[in-house]
């Protein structure tokens, strides 16, 4: 009976351990898989022609001839959109039209002055042209069709006037005719509404297709290209086709979202068919292609990580890790050796041990502030260096942070070396130092490497200690240890808090986090393989 009970409890225990492992793995999978999967989309995705344009301009990459051909093909389809918008805009934008009329009138006046005609005739023509201008302006600004028609008709009466022939004033009539023809389909009363809706329509088209070639090149790189990825393009297209509005259905209740086709805003105008046109020809305009953007891992980025990759961040993280290992390795081993080899557990050793344990529990931001006050503001200037955050100070701060972990792991490793090794070495006449360097250290190396592995993961992922001591959000690749650097961890933080751009490029945010995870993973794997090799060698295999 007791045997059976023992048997059952054993079984339950085994089941529980298996279950906890499964749960752990499942949680890990639930957290990591989406991050890695979405991060993966930073590298492999369906890129549009805008992506290839951006790559060529910013990174000088890609086939120019091929791109020119593609560009010509997509412009064929895009031209119609830009032309329609420009034409439509002309006629609803009263201010520009008025300015234009005034400008023509002024040029006409100057022209007359040059012609040297009799004073009376000059005055007459001048006042006539002003009259025409005023009438045109009334027509442009009016929302009453009757007034518009009357004024335009009055203006066009002078069209045949011989005195205006072949002068700059003839342009006035061209504008008037165009305006009269174009407004036939436009409800003039709604001109203000059209202007507002068109502005929005234009903004979305710019986001989708890039800026209108007839307008000046935008100052910021991020505004020079349309949607670079097909999935983003689809999202923007949806925004273009559907207008979301919040409307009050009943008083005292929250408003409800209502989606209506945006085309309805332009009912009856020449803009209306554009919506179907864009939807049907989106592929021809953007020419999507499967893209493998491995250069994501070496490219630098534009502000806010809008375009480009994480090259400087990866380099910075590796440099920081390496530099802090250079400090951790000797200091950690020497301290561990002292703690492990010292003769007795006296008062001082107890104090030291307590200090190390306390240090391990200190929050990382405290190390960051310590690093700022000690390394940046005191130590480096003491040796004549610049009192500025840099890789050196950041590495020193990170070393201070992970030293306790390193010391403890190394101490355990050194302690676990069999006493007989030491006795044999001492018995053969080797000194204490020689025994430690030649016998104990090699035997303890696998355990020390465990400490290194733990330190690497910590160092590569920490943000708070380097916040004030050497990390920057945006800048060039570091040239030497006295330069500050971008890092993956601080970069992820900066994307989250810095700019509103991050929400527009979620793939870059995921990409950076996924790169950090992968990088730490790879560093760990490398260290583990090294440890395995060393311990195999120790075992004499």
């Amino acid at each position: 009976m007791r045997f059976i009970i023992r048997h059952i409890t054993d079984k339950i225990f085994t089941a529980l351990t298996v279950l906890s492992v499964v749960v752990l793995v499942a949680i890990l999978a639930v957290i990591l898989t989406p991050i890695l999967w979405k991060g993966f989309s930073a590298v492999v995705f369906t890129g549009t022609i805008e992506f290839r344009k951006m790559q060529l301009d910013l990174f000088n990459r890609g086939d120019i001839d091929e791109l020119n051909k593609e560009n010509a093909r997509s412009q064929l389809y895009r031209k119609k959109i830009y032309d329609t918008i420009d034409r439509f805009k002309q006629n609803i934008d009263a201010e520009t039209l008025c300015d234009k009329a005034a400008q023509i009138c002024r040029t006409f006046g100057k022209e007359l002055q040059r012609k040297n005609m009799p004073g009376a005739e000059y005055q007459q023509l001048r006042s006539l042209s002003r009259e025409i201008r005023d009438k045109l302006q009334i027509a442009f600004n009016s929302s009453n069709k009757k007034i518009v028609d009357e004024n335009i008709k009055d203006v066009l009466k002078y069209k045949t006037d011989i005195r205006f022939k072949d002068t700059s004033a003839a342009e006035l009539f061209a504008i008037a005719e165009n305006f009269a023809a174009d407004i036939k389909n436009i409800d003039l009363a709604k001109r203000q509404e059209y202007a507002y809706a068109l502005k929005e329509f234009e903004n979305i088209t710019v986001k989708l297709l890039g800026y209108n070639p007839s307008t000046p090149v935008p100052a910021l790189k991020m505004n020079r290209y349309g949607a670079t990825r097909l999935n983003i393009a689809k999202k923007i297209l949806n925004q273009l086709l559907l207008l979301e509005k919040w409307e009050q259905t009943s008083p005292g209740k929250p408003m409800v979202k209502i989606s209506t086709p945006r085309a309805r805003l332009f009912a009856g105008t020449e803009i209306e068919p554009l919506f179907d046109y864009i939807r049907d020809n989106i592929d021809e305009m953007l020419i999507p292609k499967r893209t493998f953007y491995w250069q994501y891992l070496i490219d630098s980025s534009t502000p806010g990580h809008y375009f480009g990759g994480v090259g400087p961040e990866i380099l910075g993280t590796l440099l920081l890790t390496l530099a802090s290992m250079v400090f951790i390795f000797p200091i950690g081993i020497i301290s561990a050796a002292y703690l492990a080899e010292c003769p007795s557990d006296n008062f001082i050793i107890k104090i030291i041990r307590m200090a190390i344990n306390t240090l391990a529990g200190v929050p990382s931001i405290v190390f960051g502030l310590f690093g700022l006050a000690f390394f940046v503001l005191y130590l480096v200037p003491l040796f004549g260096g610049p009192s500025k955050p840099c890789i050196l100070t950041a590495a020193l701060t990170l070393a201070a942070l992970t030293l306790p972990v390193m010391i403890r792991a190394s101490e355990e490793a050194i302690r676990s070396v069999p006493q007989s090794y030491k006795e044999a070495s001492l018995g053969l006449g080797a000194g204490k130092l020689r025994t430690f360097i030649c016998v104990i250290l090699p035997a303890a190396l696998p355990g020390i490497l465990t400490g290194i592995i733990l330190s690497i993961s910590r160092v590569a992922g920490e943000t708070a200690p380097i916040l004030f001591t050497g990390a920057i959000a945006f800048g060039p690749m570091p040239k030497n240890a006295f330069d500050p650097t971008c890092t993956l961890s601080y970069g992820s933080y900066d994307i989250a808090v810095g700019d509103r751009l991050a929400s527009l490029v979620p793939h870059n945010q995921y990409g950076m986090v996924a790169t950090l995870i992968t990088l730490v993973f790879c560093l760990n794997i490398a260290a583990i393989i090294m440890r395995a090799k060393i311990s195999r060698k120790l075992k004499g295999q």
Binding site: L220, G252, P254, K257, S387, A481, P484, G498, D499
Partner: protein
């Protein structure tokens, strides 16, 4: 073999550490997370015009910017508020004369969830919301829905401006949620029906609804003209006026050029002058 590799790494590291290459022109910029995007974008423009100049930008809050300038850890401090008296005296004591360059205007926009029918609040009503005197939208003419008020953390310049204009001397209620960045306020308000928060005017988009304050909608005109009650200038601080012709001088006066103003506008802020 392994020993050789290790030595090689050590030597390489040493060489790299000591690689104090010929003195380059550098410019270190530190401070406000609000001004940060402008500095980033200016840096982008400068890297094209002056490729041999190295500019780094660190965004860690207005207070840190001021501290960094006082410690001469940076060349230019970005601040979304003016220096406080103690920061100013500390810096003068160290022989550093802070000079302010107002490079852009920013309005603090009050945002709510788009389903919220309320369109307008007065400064007094805002004050009541954030002191906890008003707890339901019903009291403000909205639906029966508890108010979830969201504030920036107290070290942010945006918080200080809001505190100055709205809270006056009163404390915020204990029920207020504090978050540490503009995007966080935005995403919190976007996803919570009863939420109200405040962000820089550049963060106003279709996903949240901006409210009129005292009957005035934040826009380019109202912010630049000062009619919108929650407007503020954004600053760059330097130690003394930068020597003419230096890269620091060019950076601090870049906002006066047409391109600089275009960039400021593209980033969602209001340029100081019309171009």
């Amino acid at each position: 073999m392994k020993k050789n590799l290790f030595t090689m790494v050590l030597v390489l590291t040493a060489v790299w550490v000591c690689n104090l290459s010929a003195a380059e022109k550098t410019l270190q910029i530190e401070g406000s997370t609000t001004v940060g995007p402008i500095a980033d974008a200016f840096t982008e423009a400068f890297s094209q015009a002056y490729p041999d100049v190295k500019i780094t930008v660190t965004k860690n809050g207005s207070g840190n910017g001021a501290a960094a300038l006082v410690d001469s850890r940076c060349d230019i401090a970005m601040m979304s508020r003016f220096m406080k008296l103690d920061e100013f005296t500390a810096s003068v004591d160290k022989g550093i004369m802070p000079v302010a360059h107002a490079i852009a205007m920013d309005g603090i926009c009050i945002i709510v969830h788009p389903s919220n029918p309320v369109t307008e609040l007065s400064l007094a009503q805002l004050h009541d919301i954030f002191t906890g005197a008003v707890k339901n939208w019903k009291e403000l003419g909205g639906p029966d829905m508890p108010i979830v008020a969201i504030s920036r953390d107290t070290s942010s310049g945006t918080y200080e401006t809001f505190d100055h204009f709205v809270m006056r001397k009163d404390k915020m209620d204990a029920s207020i949620e504090y978050v540490s960045s503009n995007p966080q306020v935005h995403s919190r308000v976007k996803t919570t029906a009863g939420a109200i928060g405040y962000v820089g005017v550049g963060f106003l988009d279709a996903e949240v609804k901006g409210l009129k304050v005292n009957g005035i909608m934040p826009s380019k005109q109202t912010v630049a003209g000062g009619t919108y009650p929650l407007s503020r200038p954004l600053f760059l601080f330097t130690n003394g006026y930068p020597a003419l012709g230096t890269i620091s001088h060019k950076f601090c006066t870049f906002y006066l050029t047409e391109k600089g103003q275009e960039i400021i506008e593209a980033k969602g802020f209001v340029p100081v002058t019309k171009y």
